[in-house]
Symmetry: C2
Subunit: 182 residues, 2 copies
Amino acid sequence: MTIEEFFQLSAGKWFSHRTSQDLASKQSKSSKSDVIIETLAVDDPEVVKLCQNYKIDPSHASCGVRFTWKAIESDKEKHSGSTVVVTVPDEGHPHRGKLLQEIVSVEKTSMTGRYQIGSDDALILTTESETIWSEERLWFASPNLRMRSNLIKRSGNFSMASYTSEIRMGGSKPDAKASEAA
Amino acid sequence: MTIEEFFQLSAGKWFSHRTSQDLASKQSKSSKSDVIIETLAVDDPEVVKLCQNYKIDPSHASCGVRFTWKAIESDKEKHSGSTVVVTVPDEGHPHRGKLLQEIVSVEKTSMTGRYQIGSDDALILTTESETIWSEERLWFASPNLRMRSNLIKRSGNFSMASYTSEIRMGGSKPDAKASEAA
């Protein structure tokens, strides 16, 4: 699967069920949200702007995606937000490259990372700042069931594992064939 | 990584934090347990017996492992149990093959499945009966932090996703180097 195909398959409305397991306190917390994923044309003004913010030629972008989420059950944390993600492949290596991201939630933050699509069609997203390292693995169990595992390090120590099951909304069963998911 | 190396790295005492997400009812449930993983010699009587139960020549087995678990918090389900797993590689393909298993818990059940170690060092275990299909992915984030995602179909429909973080017990931090984990 290419990164473009991965995001095209991700487009749509999803019910997202996330559980975070705190590795130090050994407590877990679940949250549910509705997520809308939209693919953006690479000449979309938001994609172009995000590239320019990072001083990257927008013509090098391969994908743009907007994620919008809204919590179903209040969990005292961010209830809603959106983020735009842009992928910029490494030259000659379309399966991996830079990940540009702008998150609009309680506050607006920018971050860069790396993406890589493996031979098993799983997408790995890695982001890193001075204090936080995050690696997320996303994969499709079926066109209507997406799974994610996320691991976070703070100050060099593993602190949190989060796991998410995402079911496509709109009546299709999670085990529907690809042709039914469109 | 070979299947032998995967199980050798798995050997020890682990704190296991599991969350099951019911894909139909959208409810989640967490449970915690202590797990002991012991590697068994391929000529161990339990390994030999399990092979014989499946009419497989014990000399074809590559690994034997015993898992013993005990729930930390009562969750009205199986509180403890043990299972012996034996791997029998496909001829000429050590990275994949048959998985023989006997589970001793509320009742004693036998099941066979398949294992495969990927080029990303993740272990995939697949088991299937007439009504239940299960696929589990296990991987090491570090020598002291093991992660598992499990997906279950009942009667052809995805019914449950379970996610587990396992932290090696004994004082080592999850992010310790391999040399510290021994």
